[in-house]
């Protein structure tokens, strides 16, 4: 068996001794690895020189030097645990993730590798928000980023770019893409919104899909509308400590992101003086696309 970097032989006993994941996390990782091309030890070869040139300001984010980024992570990592993503990132990607954290967006909070496979699966299945740090509220489906304990809401798929360097590359390149730039640079309208998709291959290269993972809510008798409605009903019943009247939602890994896209969600900044990318997440290929 190889070590985490894939360079040295280690014994099974050593693997167990160094295992920090709980059994349910191991199960979710294993299932994802068996059913998709993802390998949790594979690292993305980041274009570090390109990432070094990333400028946060055109992305609607505050200027962030490498020193600013290191300070931000050091000061906030306890209350913003998604910043632990930088522990596995190259310095250039760390700066981009810290820059994103200084903005209003949630891409790095719900769609980056700090969200484990288990958390991703539970978001798609039970509407548990990985951004919610209170475990009781998370189990009760309370959103972690909104005010007033609003209920969390999720598409029938929860996805992430699992590698922090790949995530930072997708963020930096996406913001420079002409389609996303057009949405960010248009005249400011506080009510305007835009969702744009760009092929994963254009952003992360032909193997970029291997760094994306996701869990798909299984349909009810072939009906995704019914699956989402049942999931909502199930989660509401559980939160109210009632017996659900619908079956427990089921999910399965997205088989592959090959031929897929990355969505960029552009919305006004809270400061109401421009736009920023509020969310970014991968989608598998739309099989219905012609």
């Amino acid at each position: 068996m190889l070590d985490a970097r894939g360079t040295a032989e280690i014994s099974r006993a050593e693997v167990i001794r160094h295992e920090t994941r709980i059994p349910s996390e191991v199960w979710a990782d294993q299932r994802q690895q068996v059913e998709s091309p993802w390998d949790r030890h594979r690292r993305y070869d980041a274009p570090r020189a390109e990432l070094r040139d990333f400028r946060p300001e055109p992305a609607g984010l505050p200027a962030t030097s490498p020193e600013d980024a290191a300070r931000h992570v050091k000061e906030h990592r306890d209350e913003r645990p998604w910043l632990t993503a930088v522990d596995k990132a190259c310095p250039e990607a760390s700066r981009i993730i810290a820059s994103a954290d200084a903005g209003d967006g949630h891409a790095h909070i719900r769609h980056e590798g700090w969200v484990t496979e288990e958390r991703l699966m539970r978001r798609a299945a039970y509407l548990e928000d990985p951004a919610q740090l209170d475990p009781v509220k998370r189990a009760n489906g309370i959103d972690g980023l909104s005010v007033n304990d609003r209920r969390h809401f999720c598409a029938d798929m929860a996805t992430r770019i699992a590698d922090p360097d790949a995530f930072a590359t997708a963020f930096a390149r996406g913001i420079e893409h002409p389609k996303v730039r057009a949405a960010i640079d248009r005249p400011f309208d506080p009510e305007a919104r835009a969702e744009i998709s760009i092929p994963i291959a254009d952003i992360l290269g032909t193997d970029g899909y291997k760094y994306c993972t996701g869990w798909q809510l299984e349909s009810v008798a072939g009906d995704q509308d019914a699956a989402r409605a049942n999931r909502k009903s199930w989660a509401l019943a559980k939160a109210a400590d009632r017996q659900p009247e619908v079956p427990e939602p089921r999910t399965s890994p997205v088989p592959t992101f090959e031929g897929g896209t990355i969505s960029y969600v552009v919305s006004p900044k809270q400061s109401a003086d421009g736009y920023e990318v509020k969310s970014m997440y991968p989608n598998p290929r739309d099989e219905g696309a012609r």
């Binding site: 598409a155 969702e195 999931r231």
Partner: protein, 102 residues
């Protein structure tokens, strides 16, 4: 062309504006203020895109079978249980008691 959204795949397709606007303001990944922003846009006196949206919303409510496949569901990701329920909610929230029939 590799694109995820219906209106990117079919910019001139039926109900492209309805699905685009509904996705941009109602999808779970958009910001928390987006639905209220859509309500404010619906009240504007001059907003050509919203005029098309309203017209397509009206047509979709009157005959949901005209919607392209499952594109409304796939793009918007509503949890109302059916396109009809989602469209009716949208109309009620944006246009109140105004009759759907023009």
């Amino acid at each position: 062309m590799t694109a995820f959204y219906y209106w990117e795949q079919h910019p001139d397709g039926p109900f492209a504006t309805l699905i685009n606007v509904a996705t941009s303001y109602c999808h779970p990944e958009t910001d928390y203020d987006a639905y209220d922003a859509l309500k404010r846009r619906a009240k504007r006196e001059s907003d050509p895109e919203m005029d098309v949206f309203k017209s397509e919303l009206r047509a979709a409510i009157q005959d949901p079978s005209q919607l392209p496949g499952n594109e409304l569901s796939r793009n918007v990701q509503y949890d109302d249980g059916s396109p009809e329920a989602f469209l009716r909610r949208l109309w009620r929230d944006l246009y109140g008691d105004e009759p759907v029939e023009a």
